[in-house]
Symmetry: C2
Subunit: 435 residues, 2 copies
């Protein structure tokens, strides 16, 4: 291994949110039950801990009793506020842990990210059941039709630009950054990500670019400002679009960048470059073939394209809580699924890069900034909202670090395009030679 | 585009084999028919040329008549020796063009590679029919069981080390080279390929390597000699293995490299690195899941793996002539198919690189050397064999350049492995900084 390989956590920002113990005067979990826990309940709880691989966790019950399958190794503590919460945990553990945490019926004095990581570690190699998962996802998941997509996107991205400004980087990039070095700031790593994608796409002055899903417009503006590209950028989030248009006008880039309020299904026109950063997660595998057809129909014969998306190591539904509460309709693809975009359309995959650990690092930055702004978030929304987003960000850090989520950048071109660099040398900045 | 992008042919070796015209005293096609061609036959021939997109080709018939759909644009000429050949061409054009060419019933005074390329160009975007292809392939293709695989491999790789020594590089690497620069020699590009793979795998002294399908052993010896790895290399080609073992002994690397005569299905043991260069083409998509299981069971939790294989842009059978005459049982995967190796086994794809145009360049070198040695090949075998291999190499050049075949290097690791370089900087040699 190169010497610069470091373990994941070395220089990543540390996040240390913990619920205060009730005895410390912190938020007291709502008292659900006055009756004591039963021996049967405690036995069930022990079985449940065994079923997830005996993590070094102690579960403290509402009546002061506590259960652990490894009393000498306990590193993390979780408090359950009552009988109803406990039984819900038995029935659907992931979902109820999340909902219980959000509502304060489940609390912990341990670091939330570490707590989740320790459960993942205990469960490692216990692959879940794809068929049952698929069924539950199908039965409870959100549709991804044109109309449903608008609602899904509104749910997450129209929470208010003010909210995202509290904890994203200054340019509001809400996707995985690219840390060229371990020490890079989030701000610099987001710019590095944009430049890295532009290099992969061999972007040059005058290129006509279609961007599908443009967020607050930073990347579209970056391509126009720094590379002389002419960009048409699509989005269905109104709040984001209004913000993006105002920025384009303020920067005098109104002619070079056109922001269009439309869904990916409505993309038309011809382009030299097709790019999409963080939209594919919302498209759904059932639509990939159609997306590929649209891309192919837009792309010039000598064109290039890149899709940047969260991904999976194997096809499986996103966890139900995230799909229900955070990203309605969200579904990252496995690579085998993503190929449905390129293969039937006669496009050629040139380069796939997995940036999983860059996303873990990005999320650690976001979580740290989120905690620093949690009072402001609480003012804007409420305590539940703070706990929900904390859980979502902490669980995402843990999942990327445990290898449960991937980040794929897929570079592609029409199959007949031979006008491409032969090597990837141009992607990596010139460095001083050995002295 | 970076300025070093050049069109495919610029500095690649030129191949200029042409059949001499019969009038020039060259090989006279066997006279099949004494009767003249009919108007119906010439009309059918015209239709056939239309069906493949009106390439600028003139077909000269055995009676001196000739047919072209674009008389003013003709650039290539093909001679058909008789009625039987013509009708066989109508029934199964690709297959009979190849067999007819091999047997000298079809000849051309044009460059063979260019002739094939012009047909591909005319046919561009006429996607063939996957279902019919699949059926024909299933009905006529070779099995890939353990026993059948031995016979398949024997058919191609045991043609005699002497034969391959005539036209491969000095180290006998019969897979795509990596041209770090356009001017690199084939010899240097084959060494560059080996080093590039070792960098992708972060190979270090003491690493236990399993190599599946080791050819004449050059890469196994390279990893041991240049990186201090301990390699166990598998192959089922006896001629190759005997050669490889003799080289290991001669170099004093007998302790560091073990050559095992066994199929991939028989691979056992633990390794830090799993690598396979040019074997997957012979495994068959129906076995990928099993291959993945074997790789996963061998690979240490902090291990890395790389598969280097010819590939396709979409699942389809290899063309029938190649499968029947050249590579029995051969079937390159589309990426969606290759994912069956990694996804069900809980492995993570880290990096996919498509080196298609490097393979076209490699094949141009081989074809040039093959032509230079064609007299020696004719002595070893016969004229038919020379024509068969010329066609196979020329058609391969044309197919890679037209985007009909890909070359994928897929880097992977167990999903939980976080001990990996964060960026791909280390893959690219340090270059002098801008002065």
């Amino acid at each position: 291994m190169p010497t610069k390989t470091v373990s994941t956590n070395d220089r990543s920002p540390k996040v240390t949110h913990r619920d205060l113990r009730p005895s410390n005067g912190g938020p007291t979990p709502a008292a659900e039950s006055s009756v004591a826990s039963s021996a049967l309940e405690r036995r069930f709880l022990r079985r449940a801990l065994q079923a997830i691989g005996n993590p070094p966790i102690e579960v403290e019950l509402w009546d002061g009793e506590s259960v652990s399958t490894q009393p000498d190794l306990v590193k993390y503590r979780v408090h359950v506020a009552g009988r109803r919460t406990l039984w819900k945990l038995f029935v659907q553990p992931d979902f109820e842990f999340a909902d219980g945490y959000v509502e304060g019926r489940i609390t912990t004095d341990s670091d939330l990210t570490e707590l989740i990581q320790t459960v993942f570690a205990a469960m490692a190699d216990r692959l879940p059941r794809p068929r049952l998962e698929r069924f539950l996802s199908w039965a409870t998941g959100h549709a991804r039709s044109l109309k449903a997509s608008r609602e899904n996107i509104h749910h997450h991205y129209d929470l208010g630009n003010d909210f995202y400004q509290l904890w994203l980087d200054e340019q509001l990039l809400y996707t995985c950054a690219y840390f060229e070095s371990e020490e890079m700031s989030l701000e610099a790593a987001q710019v590095a990500k944009m430049d890295y994608i532009c290099r992969k796409l061999c972007l040059k002055p005058g290129d006509r670019v279609i961007e599908a899903g443009c967020g607050w417009g930073s990347f579209a503006l970056h391509m126009a400002r720094n590379y002389g590209a002419r960009v048409t950028a699509y989005n269905i989030s109104r709040e984001q679009l209004a913000f993006a248009r105002a920025r384009a006008t303020a920067e005098g880039l109104g002619d070079a960048v056109t922001f269009v309020e439309a869904d990916w299904r409505q993309i038309r026109g011809e382009c030299d470059v097709f790019v999409s950063v963080g939209m594919l997660e919302h498209v759904g595998p059932e639509h990939y073939r159609k997306l590929g057809k649209i891309i192919k129909s837009c792309l010039a014969p000598q064109g290039r394209g890149l899709i940047h998306s969260i991904g999976l190591n194997r096809p499986r539904p996103i966890d139900r809580w995230t799909e229900q509460r955070i990203f309605p309709g969200g579904q990252p693809p496995a690579l085998s699924e993503a190929m449905a975009i390129f293969e039937p359309s006669g496009m050629s995959v040139l380069d796939v890069e997995n940036l999983r650990l860059h996303y873990a690092k990005t999320l650690r930055h976001w979580l740290k900034r989120f905690e620093q702004s949690s009072d402001a978030v609480r003012e804007m929304f409420d305590e539940k909202f703070v706990r929900m987003w904390r859980l979502y960000l902490a669980a995402s850090v843990a999942t990327f670090e445990a290898g449960g989520l991937q980040l794929f950048q897929i570079l592609f071109a029409p199959a007949i395009n031979n006008d491409l660099p032969r090597t990837r040398d141009h992607l990596y900045p010139l460095r001083p030679g050995p002295s």
